[in-house]
């Protein structure tokens, strides 16, 4: 905690747009953040706020040709990812950056054994002989604490429970010891007690391997349990970035505060939940000013006209709101 760790990933003004018949769909509208070694960085927001598209942009896995990164810079360990050729990018995916998706039933191939699927990534990236691949697969299964890995690697996904399947997905992601892991809602499909297991497991793996994790979620409970720092997204923009405890205790952006207040809490009894009126704006037709202005309780004239700049109000805590600019 005393010395700052190396920055693994730096994202500057990333803009991703989908070009559709209905018009330009600005899914990610210029966001910047960084992730350090051994750190878990949360991207939090509601559906369609651009958090998954951000994850896919980092891997350059957008559905082309509709989806394109139209601006910005992504640097992984000093390498500009957007300048890599397609072939070079394949070397990065799965080896230096890997991803865990939400639903393990759809992200695993039902007709291959677990061992084959973990082995695929090991074989591709490490060029190992077949007999050595199996050892690597077993060690990847061990890392995720899957019991009896020698037997499990011959199982098909349908023979495993949801929690075990998600561990297999984790094994594939961690098999080449990546520098950065993007976890897109990895616990959403899991039950509460299994979710707690999975999060504890990932904290442990991070300690062992120093992997940087980007944790994409909509669940503030999960954020509190695993993330060191958090960025809150709204309609394609990051509205606030801060350490997890700052976000919960001293958040400055009206959207962050409203979102936290609207989550029912287990440790107190609420009679009425705070709710944010209205809906997020359409990304096809964004308001000219602050994107949250139409729903904001503290809205001012300037909010409707101009986009608020990102202001750093204390170390590591930045907010994009006109209220803080004054």
């Amino acid at each position: 905690m005393t010395t700052k760790r190396d920055i693994v990933l730096q994202v500057e003004d990333l803009q991703t747009t989908f070009f559709t018949r209905a018009g330009e769909f600005k899914a990610v509208g210029g966001i910047s953040f960084y992730v350090r070694e051994g750190e878990t960085f949360g991207l939090v927001g509601e559906s369609a706020c651009g958090k998954t598209v951000t994850g896919l942009s980092l891997l350059r896995l957008l559905p082309e040709p509709a989806g394109r990164i139209v601006g910005g810079k992504i640097t992984l360990d000093g390498i500009d990812i957007l300048k890599l050729s397609k072939k070079q990018m394949r070397e990065v995916r799965g080896k230096r950056i890997s991803m865990i998706l939400q639903d393990p039933m759809t992200s695993l191939n039902p007709v291959y054994t677990v061992g084959d699927q973990i082995g695929e990534s090991v074989r591709l990236h490490q060029g190992l002989r077949d007999d050595m691949v199996e050892d690597e697969v077993i060690s990847a299964l061990r890392l995720l604490r899957i019991p009896a890995p020698e037997q499990r690697l011959r199982d098909y996904p349908f023979q495993l429970s949801g929690g075990m399947r998600q561990r297999v997905v984790g094994s594939i992601a961690m098999s080449c010891r990546p520098r950065l892991l993007i976890a897109d809602e990895p616990t959403t499909a899991l039950d509460a007690t299994i979710q707690a297991q999975y999060i504890a497991l990932f904290k442990d793996i991070q300690k062992q391997t120093d992997v940087a994790i980007i944790f994409i979620t909509h669940d503030f409970g999960v954020v509190a349990n695993i993330c060191d720092r958090v960025a809150v997204m709204y309609a394609g923009k990051i509205v606030e970035t801060a350490s997890t405890s700052t976000i919960f205790k001293r958040s400055k952006h009206p959207y962050t505060s409203a979102l936290i207040r609207s989550v029912p809490r287990l440790d107190r009894k609420d009679d009425q939940l705070y709710s944010i009126e209205g809906q997020p704006p359409s990304l096809l037709n964004l308001p000219p000013g602050c994107r949250f202005a139409p729903r904001c309780p503290d809205v001012m004239d300037i909010c409707l006209k101009e986009q608020p700049p990102v202001v750093e109000i204390s170390e590591g805590h930045s907010v994009s709101c006109w209220k803080e600019k004054k």
């Binding site: 509601e46 559906s47 429970s161 949801g162 929690g163 075990m164 039950d191 509460a192 007690t193 299994i194 979710q195 707690a196 297991q197 504890a200 909509h218 669940d219 503030f220 409970g221 509190a224 349990n225 060191d228 997890t244 405890s245 919960f248 205790k249 409203a258 979102l259 609207s262 989550v263 029912p264 809490r265 287990l266 440790d267 009894k269 609420d270 009425q272 939940l273 705070y274 709710s275 944010i276 009126e277 809906q279």
Partner: protein, 335 residues
Amino acid sequence: MADILLEGRELTKYYPVTKGLLQRVIGYVRAVDGISFTIEHGKTLSLVGESGAGKTTAAKAVLLLERLTSGTILFEGKDVYKFSKSQLKTQYRPRVQSVQQNPWSSMNPRMRVRDIIAEPLVVNTKKTKEEIRSRVLELLDQVGLSPDQADYYPHEFSGGQRQRIAVARALALNPSLVVLDEPVSALDVSIRAQIMNLLKDLQEQYNLSYLVIAHNLATVRFMSHSVAIMYLGQIVEYGEAEALFLKPLHPYTRALISASILTLPEDEDQNVQKIILSGEMPSPLNPPPGCRFHTRCSEAIDICSKVPPEVRTIGTQQVKCHLYDDPGVQSASSK
């Protein structure tokens, strides 16, 4: 006890598992295994548990979409299984309605909202077109939608609005009980709060009873008057919601609460250590002997793996756990 609307007694549902050409029965999945509960007028009972706990099967049984293996359901004191077909159609089904989890699949995409909400009225009542029309507009207003949205199709609405339409449809016949199967889990956080507030307001306004099926404990605490925690087809703890959340008795309830409570990293040392259960829920095809939770329980003692625990009443709570067999042990274990 006059205000009990619905009572489930020893509800049991076994699904046969067959094998081979002759479809020989090789075993039974004990989805629901002897659960009892009561729902009072104007109150909410929540069935909470992880997937495979049997909560949806229990809800289906109440909706009579699934015939029980054994057990009785009493609606206003009358045995529902003794109702004739016409009695069911006039006295039970219109009064027990449901809202499903996923508002994207619970509505016919080819019907206009007006017709979706009107359907229960068309099927169950002899109202004229004009009466139905005005009732639909009234319902739209009650759930916070505007009358000019009546001619839209479901795809033109957001998830939260669709769930409002589903609520309007469930309320069309003025039911006494609404079964809410994970009513907000498919919705976004900021929208969830809107729908939960709406459901609570409607409950007060119309003295509705709710049977909520949920896995999110925080949602449950906000909505419920009483709570039943289910594990592998059985209710392990049952009681008044506030008491249960303030002083959970069963080790499984404690683990569930610990898993869902919000703790910030720096609070972790001061607060109670998170309880993380090992292993997963065993198969309901072959539940473990004794207490069904003993394979994952950190407080299991010898007797737990041998003898199924009896239901004990402690305060307003009922708990199925050997730790409470002897009053002396109780104070030691629940610090």
